[in-house]
């Protein structure tokens, strides 16, 4: 009679595969460039030719250590590569070189921000491994082609403890992991190109229970929304099984994004005994403590620290700080503008508002937009009322499209604000003369026409008239 009696909660752990941003593969000198013609970035080592041996790419280790430190992991002075043996057509050696019993780093933690506060998610381990190649099922009729360009690409696998409870938490975790990785410059995190891949381990249990239910493994999720939807679907599936008195089976499931459902890949009975053992072709990876400490000292400022600092140092609202620190590039850009303009709040307004809007229209990144100093100059022109806010927005677009400076544009196009009384009076008189009806209606009490006159004057001055002066003139001339 207990079925349905107690509420269930999900227990979720994520395994994130991170492709390191190196020019060369993990164990040989081949390029890691994405999108090259199949089997062009290959050599005896990554093809697994008889007699070929792996050698270590030190840069990959540097990046992996940086990532591990950013998630507060203990980086081990000695870690050991192991062979994970299985047969697959895109696995040239018949084993993948990975780390098993002695990984690079263990016992980290990560504060994930959630709508209702923060949650600490523990990181079980981070280890290095090489990627496999790719099986292409759509190139040869009735056959499978193999592209080994990706074989040997360096990866870090980051395994969380099962500390996540909802699909939304899983998504937030993943998004913030990605954000940090971008800050660290260890990966380009491009999910479409597979440089960030995620598997989820999902189980359900009665709320309050400490024991773990039987978990299933979810693969093939290649977007944030895919992760969230796949986990939600799996939690639903498992909950229905449990509610119906059934038992969840230990299986691997693939997420079918098009159909919005999970389907089984293989049952655990068929799963591999990988027969791990220490890789005899590579000596243990030894990283002196001094090097680990040096790497810790060189860690860039991470998003949460930067967010807090922006709030403190620039007196920005939480929302501004959040948006401006969403990527390292944007945060760097904002800081440069804020310093050059000597007005953080204005810098924030301009970067978050007109600049991001204009970039979005043009589909370009902040790094390839106007120089921070050039934007600061524009902000100064608006602040000292040389031009109006609206003219400023227009000038910014012209800057992006032409590469000219704000001053040049304002000068060449005569966009500076006009405060000359005679000129202003001319514009105002012309507008009032042209709209005698409206003037009459205004005088009989239709006060909202004030805005109409204002607009007309601005229009005829091509935005250059000083709005304050115009308002004063209008008030005087329309007075009964």
């Amino acid at each position: 009679m207990s079925a349905g009696a107690g509420a269930l909660e999900a227990v979720i752990g994520l395994e994130v595969h991170i492709q390191l941003r190196t020019e060369r593969k993990l164990f040989c000198g081949d390029s890691t460039r994405f999108g090259d013609a199949p089997n062009t970035n290959v050599c005896p080592v990554c093809l697994g030719l008889p007699g070929a041996l792996p050698t270590m790419n030190g840069h990959a280790v540097t990046l992996a250590v940086r990532a591990a430190l950013a998630f507060d992991c203990e980086v081990h002075e000695t870690s050991v590569f192991a062979r994970k043996n299985y047969f697959y057509p895109d696995l040239p050696k018949g084993y993948q070189i990975s780390q098993f019993e002695q990984p690079l780093a263990t016992t980290g933690q990560f504060r994930v921000r959630l709508p209702d506060g923060e949650k600490v998610v523990r990181v079980r381990r981070m280890h290095m491994e090489e990627d496999a190649g790719k099986s292409l099922h759509d190139r040869v009729p009735g056959g499978t082609a193999v592209d080994l360009n990706r074989a040997g690409t360096p990866l870090v696998e980051m395994v969380s403890e099962p500390d996540l409870r909802t699909p939304e938490e899983a998504r937030a975790y993943l998004q913030q992991v990605k954000q940090i990785l971008e800050y660290l410059d260890v990966s380009d995190c491009n999910m479409e190109e597979g440089s960030l891949r995620v598997d989820a381990n999902v189980s359900v249990r009665p709320v309050g229970s400490q024991a773990l239910g039987t978990k299933t493994e979810l693969k093939n999720m290649n977007s944030f929304s895919g992760v969230e939807k796949a986990i939600a679907a799996e939690v639903r599936r498992q909950s229905e099984i449990v509610a119906g008195g059934g038992r969840v089976e230990h299986i691997t499931l693939l997420w079918d994004d098009a159909r919005g459902e999970v389907r089984p890949m293989r049952s655990k009975e068929e799963s591999h005994d990988y027969r791990y053992f220490p890789e005899p072709d590579l000596p243990p990876l030894v990283i002196p403590v001094a090097e680990i400490e040096a790497a810790r000292g060189e860690l860039p400022e991470l998003p949460h620290t930067r967010r807090e600092r922006f709030g403190r140092e620039y007196a920005l609202p939480t929302y501004d700080a959040e948006v401006l620190t969403s990527t390292r590039g944007l945060a760097d850009y904002f800081e440069a503008v804020a310093r050059a303009a000597d007005d953080p709040k204005q810098a924030s307004n301009w970067v978050m508002g007109p600049l991001l809007a204009a970039l979005k229209e043009r589909g370009i990144e902040v790094g390839s937009s106007v120089a921070p100093a050039a934007l600061a100059e524009l902000i100064a022109l608006v602040r000292d009322a040389t031009i109006s806010q609206n003219v400023g927005k227009e000038v910014l677009r012209k800057m992006l499209d032409s590469g000219r400076s704000a001053k040049e544009i304002v000068e060449e196009e005569g966009l500076a604000q006009v405060r000359d009384a005679g000129q202003l009076e001319g514009w105002v008189d012309a507008v009032l003369a042209a709209h005698a009806d409206e003037v009459a209606r205004f005088r009989t009490g239709e006060k909202k026409l004030q805005g109409f006159f204002m607009g007309e004057v601005m229009k005829s001055s091509r935005g250059k008239a000083d709005p304050g002066e115009v308002a004063r003139l209008l008030a005087r001339k329309l007075a009964p």
Binding site: P50, G51, G94, F277, P280
Partner: protein
């Protein structure tokens, strides 16, 4: 037909007399062809160069990876191996030849790159005359496990040459070439050298690059050299040794002059006689000849002292866990997907693997893959692989203790018996495995070993083995040179 001259004689002749630098190699090829065309062919070679193709191999001068090609003669003398014909075991990748490891699964495979040792051999002026027969993937002690038929012992063609570098040992013993490359995972250079009556050196693990050596058991494999004399084997080693950035297990150490201890004799040297290697199961003739050799060393001023290496008896079982374990993984790449032979008509990936491997691998290879797969499987890992690793470190610490007691070198028999008849042990893997009983310890410990002839019984050669601490090849080779001349004087 006359035998090949020695390495120094060839280098001297090529360096001074001018003429065709390939004449010694061509003569070696003639001898090789003759040996294969006799009524009972030697079958030392799986592939022979045709003389025209050898030109490409005679390149000299360009220094590769800063490897050790120092040696006598100085920079102005001829390269270390100028014009020297060399036979190369077929598990080393070389241009212009197939690399088959004597396996049907690699029949016709030509490597697109060369092993570091082969490049160094060529840059030292050596000429590769052919690829030698071996036990398939270096698994065996008799060269009867070749996928292409066994090699015969040149001293008695009804007998085995030993293994797995039996082709290389036979080619040298038959006088075809003065020296040859082999590989030694559990004794595969020293044991066939002993059975064929030539000299075999297994250097310290890490002394010689394994890049381009098709792996059998990576943590034990080491390229070794075979020569008719200690000097010839040492000169070949001089040409190939040295750090290789392509092999992460190769040591970044300078290469010493391996013949630097020549003429120093053995006076004052403490030679250990390990009790466990002279057990009563040992063939009495082998025992006698080895003890006589020790007597010569003693007469020449060495101090011979009995020592104990108590874990010796566990070495063979540990070896036959560790080597197959690594082999099961190393041989996974032969799956029919990318190169070598593929079973025709297989209709799924799984069928490609199963049928290719079932057809391509011989019985001994299959046996070791099965053994290794089992030893590594979840649930048995600790009981087998883990325990064997612990034995390995105990074996190594046995040696460490003996060196710490002031012993310079150890002297042991190389093989428990002289060459045995073809077919005698093929149905009894365990008796075959025991052929390596005196040699596997060096591989487990990573130390160097050298086998040299100490006499013969009924015309069958018997070898004795020096073992030395890691990196002490010069001391080991010096003692072997001394013993070699002592035995020659006594003859």
């Amino acid at each position: 037909m006359s035998e090949s001259p020695g390495v120094r004689e060839i280098v001297g002749a090529v360096g001074t007399a001018g003429g065709d630098p390939l004449r010694f190699a061509n003569a070696a090829l003639d001898r090789a062809r003759r040996a294969e065309s006799e009524d009972t062919p030697l079958h030392a070679f799986l592939a022979l160069a045709d003389s025209a193709a050898m030109g490409g191999g005679a390149a000299t001068g360009d220094d590769l990876d800063g490897g050790g090609r120092s040696g006598k003669g100085g920079p102005k003398g001829p390269p270390l191996l100028a014009g020297v014909p060399v036979a190369v075991k077929d598990n080393l990748c070389a241009f212009d030849f197939p690399t088959t490891c004597a396996s049907r699964i690699l029949e016709g495979y030509v490597s697109p790159y060369e092993a570091t040792v082969v490049r160094r051999l060529r840059s030292a002026g050596g000429v590769i005359v052919g690829k030698t027969n071996m036990d398939e993937f270096a698994m065996g002690s008799s060269t009867e496990n070749s996928g292409f038929g066994p090699t015969r012992n040149p001293r008695d063609r009804s007998r085995v040459p030993g293994g797995s570098s039996g082709g290389s040992a036979a080619a040298v013993a038959a006088g075809i070439v003065p020296c040859a490359l082999g590989s030694d995972t559990g004794g595969s250079v020293r044991q066939p050298a002993s059975l064929c009556g030539v000299v075999g050196i297994k250097p310290t693990y890490g002394r010689v690059s394994r890049y381009g050596l098709v792996a059998y058991a990576s943590s034990l494999d080491q390229v070794g050299t075979i020569g008719r004399t200690v000097e010839d084997a040492a000169l070949l080693l001089q040409a190939i040794a040295g750090h290789d950035p392509r092999d992460a297990t190769s040591a970044p150490l300078p290469v010493p002059d391996f013949l630097g201890a020549r003429g120093r004799g053995v006076r004052g040297l403490t030679v250990g006689l390990p009790r466990e290697y002279f057990a009563k199961e040992l063939d009495p003739a082998v025992q006698r000849l080895c003890r006589e050799a020790l007597g010569r060393l003693e007469e020449a001023g060495a101090v011979v002292r009995e020592v104990s290496l108590p874990h010796t008896k566990f070495a063979v079982p540990a070896y036959y866990i560790l080597a197959p374990a690594e082999a099961s993984s190393n041989l996974a790449r032969f799956d029919g997907v990318r190169y070598g032979s593929r079973a025709p008509g297989a209709d799924s990936a799984r069928a490609v693997y199963e049928e290719t491997r079932t057809r391509g691998f011989g019985a001994e290879v299959v046996r070791r893959i099965m053994l290794g797969t089992f030893a590594l499987s979840a649930g048995y890992y600790e009981a087998y692989y883990g325990r064997a690793q612990r034995v390995r470190s105990l074996v190594a610490s046995d040696f460490g203790r003996v060196w710490a007691e002031g012993v310079d070198l150890l002297f042991t028999p190389t093989s428990p018996t002289p060459a045995f008849p073809l077919g005698e042990r093929t149905d009894d893997p365990v008796s075959m495995y025991l052929s390596d009983i005196f040699t596997v310890t060096a591989n487990l410990a990573g130390i160097p070993g050298l086998s040299l002839p100490v006499g013969a019984v009924d015309g069958l050669p018997v070898g004795g083995q020096f073992l030395a601490p890691m990196w002490e090849e010069p001391k080991m080779i010096g003692a072997a040179l001394a013993l070699e001349s002592l035995l020659e004087e006594a003859r």
